[in-house]
Symmetry: none
Subunit: 224 residues, 4 copies
DNA sequence: AATGAATGAGAATTCATTCAT
DNA sequence: TATGAATGAATTCTCATTCAT
């Protein structure tokens, strides 16, 4: 039975022996543990044994599911993000409203949820580790950066076309929108996780930030 | 050997024999090498031998100047940043103009220079490593986050008081200003260092970003 | 499945259901696989899982038949050789001819067959592993070396008594006869299995070798 | 200083610091220990730590001189044999006598010395491990089998040409000469190292064996 | 009997740090 | 001071063996 490490794999039919039920859950449990630890300590400083332990299995078991620590890293990154990106794209496609509205609702929601989910850790992880794993750079560009930029860019363009926004340079605006939000995710898992400094009301910040950008690119209302 | 001598290491008096001058530069050369490697590969994945090698000394020599790899990390972080922060504060203090102008010139300049200097790497380094070294978190909060936020916050407040800006929530605006710029530094040393994805015109982005924020917080001009 | 059923495993009565016949062959299939792999890779470098796999069963099943990997080694060695030795002795006993003739026919045949059978691998295996398993040394001395030397020695002695051979030192001649033939078996499973070097016409070599020895020990014919 | 791991490297001048004197000896000490253990237990069953220990150094030190256990294996094999082969060739080249005499003296001496030296273990090692390391097969064929066969073959041929020997098939005779001697070396480090079985007077056997072969290939004396 | 998931002791290798020179 | 050989704790990964199903 080729164990599909499906993300939200429905647990195997209760008829299946407990043995196998465990087996189906292992990959996901290991991925969870690995993500948590890689994000917290970094790839190199995380011991495989600790991952196994946190997943409730022994050292050896990890290697029944993943061929190496590096393999685990790849999987952690690709699995946790693709779903969120796909979901975001689906939502936008389904949404009828104006660009401004789209950004105020969907974008705010999506990032708020992302920030609060485990996926936010992936941003920190990727930022910290890409240079050691060129393969991850490709994966990330292909699966996240490119579609993400394309998606948000298209919303901005739509707004320009509809006369909601000024004729801004789309690429630059996308960066202005996204970089702080990415940084928010990164921050949450680095300095933000320490108790020093004033805490950051993320929820509010996202809203305010989008608002700020919208004002910044809004077409000035000329007429009375 | 083209290493930039440490910013705050007083160069030995030119009268000193070349041999001693060399020795006096050792710590700084080690710091340069360590920063470069820590930023690129991360703390755990950097070998002390490589640091020594890049600094042109032997493994053992490193321990004559620093008590441990971790010690080196602390020094790398504190040395490179304090100077830049202090410099920024001095400039602002010396500047007479309006808040808007201050931001358009000093802020843009400071970040542009920071981004291009080695100091930008420190952001990535800190982001990646704080959670493993609580001590760094304190250091950073005390020496960088706090004074930096205070500084920019005061500019914004000045703008509000002077009627240049709307009565925005200062803390939030500071984050809106700073997070993307920090992210820019971080990015430069992670995904930005890979060849994938479209490159980012940093120079322009900084200007555009500040501009965007200024528009976002600008007080609407109502009257003719 | 084309494994040669074990030499001395009595085949299950043909009346037995196919299912059970299959089961009865398991041990022998495991032995075949183990021999093949131990000979090729050595004991330590062979994984039990591979043995099981080549025998067409699962890892766990192996332990239903053998208590450990080492147990398997012992069985492999003792099973494959005792039969061949016994057979050789029987043949010699049944043969009426002169010592010279006996060596030219029986000895040549026996070694030719041995070399071509799986049993030849056992020589390499034993040579490689005895020092790690003193138990095997005993087994081998008792079951193979001793009876073998005794057998060939007796033929040589018979030849001396009959005036066919010179009064050579029997023990030494036995070694001269046997060592190259053993080496031939060993060679076949080590360097001979690699494609380098000129191949060796084993068949011819055995004949030539026995011939050489016979000439070496032949009683010089003095008279007309 | 590129440490030449010369075989019989003269110890560095006594002026050299003890530190360095040790360093020059390490490779050879490690090689000795490795050979001894690899021969006794086989490659896979030998622990690197044990090698280091027997060489009087710590585990880590081994890796300062050899990049891996496998590297050590290669070195062990190539270093210990090339010298002996070269020596043998030199001696033969320098010898004036008849083929028969050459074989009775040089061949006997060379093999006697080889058998008694550490080099004899290499035969067992190679026989046991070639199939796992194709690279060794090449090395062996190139450095040992080929020149050795060529050398002995040339002696035999010389004997034939000079009318000392019958017009035998040279290749086959070479095998008849060499295989038992190789087997003797192999035997010495496998079954021969166990206390079971009657011991083998190697010295005498070599002489007798060569003698036997010489008689076997001698040209029958026809005339009165 | 048969399976194969799980285990954990064990082995190779790395690397921060020490210290004799 | 500077060196670099040596160390050994720590880490990744393997594999014989067990055991619930």
């Amino acid at each position: 039975m080729p164990h599909t490490p499906a993300l939200n794999a429905a647990p195997p039919s209760p008829a299946a022996p407990a043995h196998q039920r465990r087996k189906a859950e292992r990959p996901s449990e290991l991925l969870d543990a690995a993500l948590r630890l890689f994000v917290e300590k970094g790839f190199a400083a995380t011991r495989t044994e600790e991952i196994a332990q946190q997943a409730g299995v022994s050292k050896g078991t990890l290697y029944l599911y993943y061929t190496s620590k590096e393999d685990l890293l790849r999987e952690v990154i690709s699995q946790r993000v693709s779903t969120r990106v796909a979901e975001g794209m689906a939502r936008v496609a389904a949404h009828p409203g104006s660009a401004t509205e789209l950004m105020r609702t969907l974008l705010v929601d999506w990032w708020t949820q992302t920030l609060e989910s485990d996926a936010s850790g992936v941003f920190k992880l990727v930022v910290s580790e890409v240079r050691n794993f060129p393969e991850i750079a490709e994966l990330w560009a292909r699966e996240v950066t490119a579609p993400g930029a394309q998606l948000i860019g298209s919303i901005v363009q739509r707004g320009i076309d509809a006369g909601e926004f000024r004729a801004v340079e789309v690429g630059s605006v996308v960066h202005s929108i996204v970089l702080p939000l990415v940084m928010l995710c990164v921050h949450r898992h680095s300095l933000g996780a320490c108790e020093c400094g004033q805490p950051l009301d993320a929820q509010a910040f996202i809203r305010d930030h989008i608002d700020l950008v919208l004002r910044g690119i809004a077409r000035p209302v000329r007429d009375a």
